[in-house]
Every structure is written in C-alpha cells, then in structure tokens.
C-alpha cells in the first residue's frame, strides 16, 4: 500500500502502518548518527537537556556529503541503523515516534518500538543522490563541530520509505529471511 504522510505524526498514525507499506513522508525530520547519539546519551547521563525535544519526532540516521553551491544538501541516503541500537531505546522512551535508516535492529529496540507505539522505516541504502532531491532544506541545529555527523533539521517532500518494523513489532527483514 502507498501512503502520503505528514511528519511529525502521532501515535494513531504510527499504529496505522504495516510492514511492507510504501510511504512518502513530507514535513520535518532530524538527521543524527553515531557521534550525535553518543553526545546525546552523555548529556542524558549528566542530567542535561537534549538539543531538541524528540517527542513525536522522526530521526533519520544519515550523515550527508557536502552540498554544492545553491543546493540544500549533498548525497543523503541512510546509514546502518544497528549502530545506534545502544542509544535508541532511551530516545524512544522520550517519545521519539519514528526512525529512518537501513538494516536490522536488536530485540531491545524492537521492544522499545512496541512499548512506545513507534515505527521503523527503511530508505533505500545507496540511493543518496535520489533521496537528496526530496530534501528541500537542511539546517545544522546542534553539534556543528561534528561535521557530517552534526544534528540537522531537514524539510522533506515525498521522501520515499518502506515500513520495516511496525508498532506491533512485525519485522519485514525477519519475515524475508525466516526460512533461512
């Protein structure tokens, strides 16, 4: 099923997705990857506030290549989500509603997805040039010194993703390889 969805979205919308759904996202998402997650966790451990309130927001595991003049961003495809698994349950428990990345997640992430009624989307790995065309603006909002790993606020239009883990914990990757 193909759907056009505004981001951010609420739990009712998150609960309406099923694995295998093809979804076009329009609205605001936030890019963060390894180093930014590590810093956010250090902040949480110290009892400090995070650079943004993740409640109801969607994270995109992505670190872009530099933008050419006149363009909002360079190549901008997903990175492997599994490297963020250690940090993800904490952000989901803070209310983060969705994730965009690629690849398998740990059981702990799956439990946190179910517990919080969230959703995990895959974007196509290796389609960074195509996906960059769906990003209309990009602004570094935190950790500028991390370069490609800074946290970016992105405005996206019809950004294509596939539901790979839904709010009930169904996992498309596991379905595909369950007979191996």
């Amino acid at each position: 099923m193909e759907q056009h969805i505004q981001v951010p979205f609420d739990k009712t919308t998150a609960a309406s997705f099923h694995i295998g759904d093809y979804v076009y996202l329009t609205g605001t998402i936030y890019a963060a990857r390894d180093a930014a997650h590590q810093r956010m966790m250090q902040a949480l451990e110290k009892g400090e506030s995070l650079p943004l309130d993740w409640k109801g927001q969607v994270v995109y595991y992505m670190g872009p290549s530099p933008a050419r003049e006149g363009r909002p961003i360079g190549s901008a495809g997903p990175t492997t989500s599994g490297r963020m698994d250690r940090y993800t349950p904490a952000l989901l428990d803070l209310g983060m509603i969705g994730m965009i990345g690629k690849g398998k997640r740990t059981p702990a992430v799956k439990e946190a997805v179910i517990r919080n009624g969230a959703v995990y989307f895959a974007a196509v790995g290796g389609a960074g040039a195509l996906l960059s065309q769906c990003i209309k603006s990009s602004e570094v909002i935190a950790y500028d010194d991390l370069g490609a790993e800074a946290i970016r606020k992105l405005e996206v239009e019809n950004f294509p993703v596939i539901v790979v883990m839904d709010a009930s914990g169904n996992d498309l990757y596991a379905e595909v390889t369950k007979n191996l």
């Binding site: 872009p64 290549s65 530099p66 492997t80 398998k104 196509v124 389609a127 960074g128 040039a129 595909v176």
Partner: protein
C-alpha cells in the same frame, strides 16, 4: 633502463579518480545492475532496483555522489620495478590526491585520525595504500573507495583443512546471511582463500576490483563462484534486504598457496556501487 616518474602524477590522477569513482558507476557495475533489473521478480525488489537506477542517473547528471558514504580511499599501486619515483614522498603524494579529490569533489570526509579518540581528519586522509612491485616501467593505480555499511559486515574465517571446499562455501554463505540488509544488497562479494590471516583479507579486497562479470581463470574456483552466486541468490534477501532474487551481483574469488595446517577465508562485502577505477601511467 629506469624511467623517472614525478610523484605529483599520482596526486593529480588519484584526485580525479576519487571523484570519478564516487560519481559514476563503472561500466562493468552498470552492466551488472542492468541485468539485475531484468531478472528481479519481487515487487519491492524491483522498486528498490529502479530507485537505484534513477539514483545513478541523478548522481551522474547532477554531480552528486551515488552514496553519501564516499568511503575510505583504498588504493592499490602496482609499481614497475624499472620506475624511479622522484619529486617527493610517494605516500604524501597519494594522500595529497585524496585530499584534493575529496575536498574539491564535494565528497564526504569520513576518516577519523584515531580509532578510539575519533577526531575527523576533515580531508578523508590517510588512504589505505597497498603497493606491490611488478615487472615493467609503468604504474597501475586502482582507486577503490570503500563504504563501511558493507565493510562492517565483512569477515575472516580461519578454517581447518578438513573443512575443505564445503566449509569454505558455508562460511561465505553465513557471512552473506548475517549481513542481510545491512550491506546494502545487491552486493558484490570479494573472497580470498588461502595465504595467511592478512593475505586472505587483502585478496578479498582486491577481488572486489576485478571486472564484474568475469570469472577466476581456475576451473574449480570458477565453478565455486557460479555455484555460490546461485545459492546466494536463492537466499531470498533481495534488493535492500526487502525480499527478492537479486541479493548479489557477482562473487569474485582469489586464491593463494597456504600452510599445511590452515585454510584461511576472508569475505569482503561491497554494495552495488563497488567503486573501482584504474589508470596506468
């Protein structure tokens, strides 16, 4: 007779090759992708492949890297033994080329100076450089920037001689299964069998640079490549790991003599971009 060659030639060639490898798919990989699109049957698999096809067109026309992970620069230098390098330090000249290519070509700087302290070097240097001395008076440069989505899923197995060909095949299949969607299928699989611990890993990396669609000249290895490609594409992982027939585009195996006690096997996975670009100077 020795031929003098200024190391600045390496800087310029490598700068151009880093950009070329990241913006445009090599001819052999383009042909492999075109075949894959024809053969895939699954709905999501076809959709992923058509996105990748469109992605390649956009990357080419807009000069945007095919993938945001523009890799760590792996560079093979086959230096003719009659060449005399002049004008400076070869390693510095190579790294100057990487710096120029990644900076002027709007490529991502993905290298950290220390694996534990993790501060970005901001120019994607240093490269990983593999030199070999060969007969002749020319230099063959192969630039193969490697993305880490697939690199992270690569493996070395120190098998026993008793494990034999069946053990080798099992090891390769298990690496592909474990990688699943993480290595960005459709993938190319570079394999090194034999040698020592480090030799098999280097062969696996070098095997990725072989022209896709060609086979090992050794009949029993060619047969293993053909059998494994069929088995891998029967796993069902498919493009993007979302199910389908095309999990791998090719598997390239290199071999080397080994010790009576060992059977090392290295499996280096690579996504469909499989950047590799060669020039002879």
């Amino acid at each position: 007779m020795s031929r003098q060659m200024n190391v600045s030639l390496f800087t310029d060639a490598i700068a151009e090759m880093c950009v070329e490898a990241n913006l445009r798919l090599s001819k052999d990989m383009s042909a492999a992708m075109a075949n894959a699109i024809q053969s895939e049957q699954s709905t999501l698999g076809k959709k992923v492949l058509s996105q990748l096809e469109e992605n390649l067109k956009i990357a080419d026309t807009e000069s945007i890297p095919i993938c945001q992970d523009t890799g760590m620069a792996v560079i093979f230098l086959e230096i003719g033994q009659e060449v005399q390098l002049v004008g400076g330090d070869l390693t510095e000249a190579v790294n100057a080329g990487v710096k120029k290519g990644y900076t002027e070509g709007y490529l991502r700087k993905s290298v950290v100076a220390d694996p534990l302290l993790r501060e970005n070097t901001k120019d994607n240097t240093p490269a990983v450089i593999h030199t070999s001395i060969v007969p002749g008076d020319q230099v063959k440069i192969t630039v193969a920037p490697k993305g880490f989505g697939s690199e992270n899923m690569s493996k070395v197995f120190m098998l026993k001689p008793a494990d034999g060909a069946e053990g080798v095949k099992e090891a390769i299949l298990s690496a592909v299964k474990d990688a699943g969607p993480n290595a960005c299928p459709p993938i190319v699989i570079g394999v090194g069998i034999g040698g020592t611990f480090e030799k098999c890993a280097l062969m696996a990396k070098h095997a990725l640079t072989r022209e896709t669609g060609t086979h090992s000249p050794l009949p029993h290895i060619r047969a293993m490549e053909e059998e494994l490609l069929e088995k891998i594409n029967a796993l069902g992982i498919g493009p993007g790991g979302l199910g389908g027939k095309i999990t791998a585009l090719a598997i390239h195996i290199e071999t080397y003599p080994t010790h009576i006690a060992g059977l090392p096997v290295a499996v280096n996975l690579c996504c469909h971009v499989n950047r590799h670009c060669t020039r002879i100077i």
